[in-house]
Subunit: 347 residues, 2 copies
DNA sequence: AACCATACCCAAAGCGCTTTGGAAGCCATT
DNA sequence: AATGGCTTCCAAAGCGCTTTGGGTATGGTT
């Protein structure tokens, strides 16, 4: 069933039917009702492709997932993020198109999406420090919205980010308040902008408490259980081991916990752990009462809201870019406690 | 730059340029080369939409993700699966479109995708026992491929699955060989087809070893760390606790390990654990040597291969459906060992 | 010299929609 | 009775591509 058939069946022109269906005013209430009823009854759905051709709009948003050899981006956060974004698209009649691409020709993909007019805009995932994509997308005139921020960037752009600096400063402050002085940071890859900001929040708190920044207490790697475990195992093996850990991800934190327990220590008593928690649907930080003390912010909500910002930017190209920064919630779980007295474990 | 402009620039007709670019034989090698060079140089990319309109093909594959209130499907497996499928699409000039939809109007979405001619086919994720989608898609004439199988279904369909029955029977057999008799199953939701098959593999092994099936040793829930932990904690608290666990997912297994360690027991010595491992890129089962003994099969490879099957089915509608069953690899890690003697822990 | 393949190429229709630029009908004003 | 302003509708062009149904040289055969 297409427009032509529908209009013939109704004895109207395609113009009128199209207008009735799209809410234009040039059609009487009576005919509009009649048209809408007929459309529903004969299960008429306009072809997205034809519509797109005619209007010049794709009614689709692209998500480009760089798939480095390091796999960093096919990450657990992604599933929840697009679930959130998908809600927004569904509500607004947009489609989500996904491109998995290896880093080498990321440029290519964006250019190609633009030239083929395949999407009306894109979401930029996993921004790195000084990320070149901002400049690229601005240059080719593709509307975009960034999940995160881009340090050193001077161009204006739409983004949504959690306040990573604040979250990690708060977490570090909290540990200081509990009496900890040697606090380790198990960070994500610091080429990623979010990891850079988290570290700077951590360092700011250290400075504020007059504690020297000790590179030996900081690790930066992909946020996997195994790497969290290995980092913590090494750190706990040192003579001057930390009494607390701050983790960039719940997954790393699981690894850290394993290393702690493996040494016969008790998390929350001998060693404290705070983690950032993206509130992933399948990896929850306990039930009612959280296991880990955490800074948390739902990545799914982030997806929903950033998609809204992007659609807004597409529909109002002249408005200034929307910038959203979400504060994390700080929740206290069982993984933190007062710093142990030095003699207790022979430190 | 569009076809018209390109052809004018070349002094050729649109027909010839189109044919040259699409590899039709009616054009001389010389002009073809000339056209291709010009296309590359002026960065010509045909509009997918226009192409689709003209050919009647969408050049896109749909992935519909049912987003139940239980979040089961926005699951960690999904990210890797689509990364794999994406590789196939990229190689074949297809786009992947994702629809997040809540279960109530899943029908709607499939019908709508069909009527709007938005995709050439769909991948069915997370098939349930007796899944109604097979019948629906067959009825509306939408090509599809299932990630998994559908028990009780009689219609022919294209699918790819791991041999879940075999994998879990093998795992259970292995534990019997180590002397275990009380083996718990921490399964996924048994409305899901894969979980049903895993359980039947487990039960088959039990029967083969003359051990009664004990419902008290079997749990079925979403595969989260917390639920894995709680199940194991409860089971280990019983007077007649299991000496071994089989988990449906590495994430559950992490929870099981936590419960084991919390009781001061040692995994691989006091209690054995085998898990199924989807080889997710961000959640690996150790490095060189696996932590958990596991049945494993890359879900990413599954994505790549199932997408190939679907494209094949689309291009050769009359061929019989491709059915692929992948055997799992069985790897031995540190999480399994001989069953402890009864008196050791007061069992 | 006339004929026929063969190799190249083209004009135009069509895919399903939106949108421009009217036209027709109707009523109230002058 | 002519004018003008609404309301309601329509024919046709156009979005960028593919594909049908040709046409025109070119060169080899009789």
């Amino acid at each position: 069933m297409n427009l032509k058939q529908l209009s013939e069946q109704l004895g109207l022109s395609q113009t009128t039917v199209s207008r009735a269906l799209n809410g234009y005013p040039e059609v009487s209430a009576a005919t509009r009702l009649r048209v809408e009823a007929a459309a529903k009854e004969s299960n008429y759905h306009p072809s997205t492709r034809a519509k797109g051709l005619a209007t010049g709009r794709a009614l689709a948003i692209g998500h480009v997932i760089p798939m480095s050899t390091k796999h960093e981006m096919v990450n657990p956060v992604f599933g929840d993020f697009i679930a959130g974004a998908g809600e927004t698209y569904a509500r607004n009649g947009y489609e989500m198109i996904l491109s998995i691409v290896d880093d080498s020709n990321e440029d290519q993909i964006y250019r190609s999406l633009k030239l083929r007019r395949a999407v009306d805009g894109v979401i930029v995932h996993g921004p790195r420090i000084d990320d070149p994509r901002i400049a690229l997308l601005s240059e080719i005139g593709m509307p975009f919205a960034v999940h995160g921020q881009v340090t050193h960037n001077v161009l204006p752009y739409t983004f949504l980010d959690v306040d990573n600096h604040d979250a990690f400063a708060t977490a570090t402050d909290y540990l200081f308040d509990l009496g900890h002085r040697r606090i380790a940071l198990i960070n994500g890859l610091e080429t990623m902008d979010f990891a850079y900001r988290r570290r700077s929040g951590y360092e700011a708190s250290l400075r504020a408490h007059g504690v020297a920044i000790d590179p030996a207490l900081m690790r930066s790697s992909e946020m996997t259980e195994v790497l969290g475990y290995e980092s913590a195992r090494d750190l706990l093996g040192n003579s001057n081991a930390p009494t607390a850990f701050i983790c960039a991800s719940l997954i790393s934190a699981l690894g850290v916990r394993r290393a702690i327990e493996e040494r016969g220590l008790v998390m929350g008593k001998d060693v404290s752990v705070i983690t950032h928690d993206d509130m992933l649907s399948y990896l929850q930080n306990g039930g009612e009462t959280p296991i880990f003390t955490a800074t948390r912010s739902s990545v799914r909500t982030a997806g929903r809201r950033l998609a809204e910002s992007l659609l807004h930017a597409i529909e109002h190209p002249n408005n200034p870019p929307q910038e959203t920064i979400l504060k994390c919630e700080f929740v206290v779980g069982h993984s933190t406690g007062p710093a142990p007295r030095k003699d207790e474990h022979g430190f």
